[in-house]
Symmetry: C2
Subunit: 186 residues, 2 copies
C-alpha cells in the first residue's frame, strides 16, 4: 500500500470510507438501563444511534486504523445516546480520540471497575490507556463527531461489555451530565 488521504466533509465524517457500520437502537437496546424506554425508541422508528466510517489498512502490528464516528443526540430515559463500548482484544493497545464537533464524555473503565470520565469538545485529544474499556456519550444537542486512531491489531471485544456492562454510566442531570453507578438505574 501507499500512503493515502481521506477527506472529511462539512459533517466531519470521512468521505469515501472503505466500511460503514450503522448502529440502530435495536442493535444495542440492552446497553441501556431503561429497557422500556429503549423499546419505545425501537417502536418509534428505531433511530440510528451512531455510525462509524472506517478506512481499512493491513491488520498488522505497527499499522494504524482510523475511523470517524457520529453519535446522534438523544437519551434513553436519562441515559445519553452512546456507543456500545469495547475492550481491545490485545490489552497492550491504546487508542486516541480527537473530537471534531459536539459535546460528549468518554467513559473508561478497568475490569476491577475503576473509572475515568473525560470531556469531549472540539479539539480535545483523549488518550485511552491500554486495558481500559471505553464508551462515548453524546451529552449535547448536536451530533458528536470524532476521529479515533488505534493499532490495526487491537481487535474489538464488544462481548464482555454486552455481558457485563459498565459499572458506571452518564445521565442527564439538572445541571448537565452526571456519572452514576449503573446499578442505581436498574
Amino acid at each position: 500500500m501507499e500512503p493515502f488521504v481521506k477527506f472529511t466533509g462539512a459533517s466531519g465524517l470521512m468521505e469515501q470510507p472503505d466500511n460503514v457500520v450503522i448502529r440502530k437502537m435495536s442493535d444495542m437496546a440492552a446497553a441501556y438501563a431503561d429497557s422500556q424506554k429503549a423499546r419505545q425508541w425501537i417502536e418509534n422508528g428505531d433511530p440510528v444511534v451512531y455510525e462509524m466510517l472506517e478506512a481499512l489498512v493491513p491488520q498488522a502490528a505497527g499499522e494504524l486504523m482510523f475511523c470517524t464516528t457520529r453519535i446522534n443526540p438523544g437519551t434513553v430515559g436519562r441515559e445519553y445516546f452512546m456507543t456500545k463500548g469495547h475492550y481491545h482484544e490485545d490489552p497492550t493497545t491504546a487508542e486516541i480520540y480527537y473530537t471534531v464537533s459536539g459535546r460528549g464524555i468518554l467513559l473508561a473503565e478497568t475490569k476491577d471497575r475503576r473509572h475515568v470520565a473525560l470531556e469531549m469538545r472540539k479539539g480535545s485529544i483523549i488518550h485511552v490507556e491500554p486495558g481500559w474499556a471505553h464508551r462515548t456519550y453524546n451529552t449535547g444537542e448536536e451530533p458528536l463527531v470524532f476521529l479515533a486512531v488505534y493499532p490495526a491489531n487491537a481487535g474489538h471485544d464488544y462481548r464482555t461489555i454486552e455481558q457485563e456492562g459498565f459499572a458506571h454510566t452518564v445521565v442527564k442531570g439538572d445541571n448537565g451530565p452526571v456519572v452514576v453507578k449503573t446499578s442505581t438505574l436498574r
Copy 2:
C-alpha cells in the same frame, strides 16, 4: 497511567503539553536547497519554522504517542517552510495525520525514491504507510496545524534524511504548489 485528555486552544495546539520542540531556521538550514536564502533567514531573525507540542506516554508497543504541530507560512527561495522529515526507526510502524487548519502537502518517499504527495486541508486524514519517510510543507498563507498519532515505539530517524535528503520537494509555482526533483534546485 490512567486515560487522560489534552485540550487544544483556538490555535489548534495542545494546551499544557508535556514536551515542546521548537525548530528554528538555524536548526535545519541544510534541509533547504537554496542555502544562501536559508542563511539570509537566519541573519534576519532566525524565525521559528515549526513547533511540536507533545504528550508523553510509555514507550511500549501498542501505546500511541500524539503531538500537535504548527508550521509557519513562508518560503526559502521557492521551497515552502517544512518539517525536517523522518523515517521511523521501526519500519513496521504507520502514522496518522489529521489537519486542523491551514493548507499543506505531506510528501512521503521510500528508500528507492518512490514518492507520494498528499493534500492537507482542514479535516484531511492521512495514513502514512510503514517504511515511508515523510515531511510536511505549509503551502498556504496561514499556519498549518495538524495532529499526528504514531506508535510510541516507532522511533524517529532524522539522520537518514539529514544525510540523504528527499529526492523530491515542494515549491511555490505560478499556480500553486508543485512537486519537483530536489536535484533541479541545487
